[in-house]
Subunit: 210 residues, 2 copies
Amino acid sequence: MSAIPMERPMLGDDEATALTVLAARVRELAEATVLTGADAAEAAAVADEIAALTARLTAERRGAPPFVTPGERRMDRQIANPVTGPLNPFAPPISLEVTSDGVVRGEFTLGAVYEGPPSYVHGGVSAMVLDQALGMAAAATGTPGMTATLETRYRRPTPLGVPLQVEAKASRVEGRKVHASGTISAPDGRVTVEATGMFIMPQRFVTSEY
Amino acid sequence: MSAIPMERPMLGDDEATALTVLAARVRELAEATVLTGADAAEAAAVADEIAALTARLTAERRGAPPFVTPGERRMDRQIANPVTGPLNPFAPPISLEVTSDGVVRGEFTLGAVYEGPPSYVHGGVSAMVLDQALGMAAAATGTPGMTATLETRYRRPTPLGVPLQVEAKASRVEGRKVHASGTISAPDGRVTVEATGMFIMPQRFVTSEY
């Protein structure tokens, strides 16, 4: 039913490097857009130039975001993931590491495009970051799954423009279900948002492996 | 503690219109970036041109995203909101309407930059959309607040590239607390994600009004 195909082109190293730089420039452009003090004429002139660059990029267009060959973790193939993907201008992107005991950790800073209440991170953006971290913690158990439930509790506002920490860990595995929990913390170490979630490995993942 | 100031510049109509067009072009560029089949040399050349445009936009730079003078709803002033803001290239953006009986509704389509599992919407993106819709439903009661809790339940995958519906409504108000619930539905009418949330009006909003 989805209009985006499942099959993926695989990027070579040179392409992945060049597209990662391109995405970083687009990310900076997006932040410049919400913060610019340019007048209407200058904004319109820049908009026209952007349209010409979009046309250049779409001269050769794929049907779906590409993958890269993953290292140890299968999830790392998704180089255009909206939270962690360096190829996705929409992603901060957040580099999430998994320790040998299955703890997912990352440090990140969110700028003006992620603002909810004035000067603070949008509550939905915090939920998005936690969904990704908890999902990776679930996958680290060897049972990667899709989100079934996610509960986020906001203990205090999360500030923009300062280094934040995200951490997550799986708590138990029951067949195809994995429970995980995690937090976002401010620079003073205080937890701003906490989450618990349950992830389920789709039946087709299971059947395709047996 | 946040590095983004609370005070906001107010946009005039001409500026708001020009910046909305600019943001739409940057949004298209972001999608073109994740889908481009350009080779490494072309990607690098386009990246350089984007850097030059970012420099033009940052020649006059604000400290925080601007607001517009709101109509009936105070939340509408936030023209760079990451879910609904036409000025924010990160936002789809989703136009959310509030009916006279307090129901928040919107139709939207999510493209490749919002992908989680191949061909489906990232679970965290669905949570972000629902947080915004439930928050607006809470605000429609006359008690606007920040998210205190958000519980999302994923009933089936949400497809990319097709028109989705989001709907939300407040269920009860208890002093400064408002409870709300909502859903995202696929084109066949089936609910893909449902959410309940609780929103609390900060004490400082209360004291500033009395």
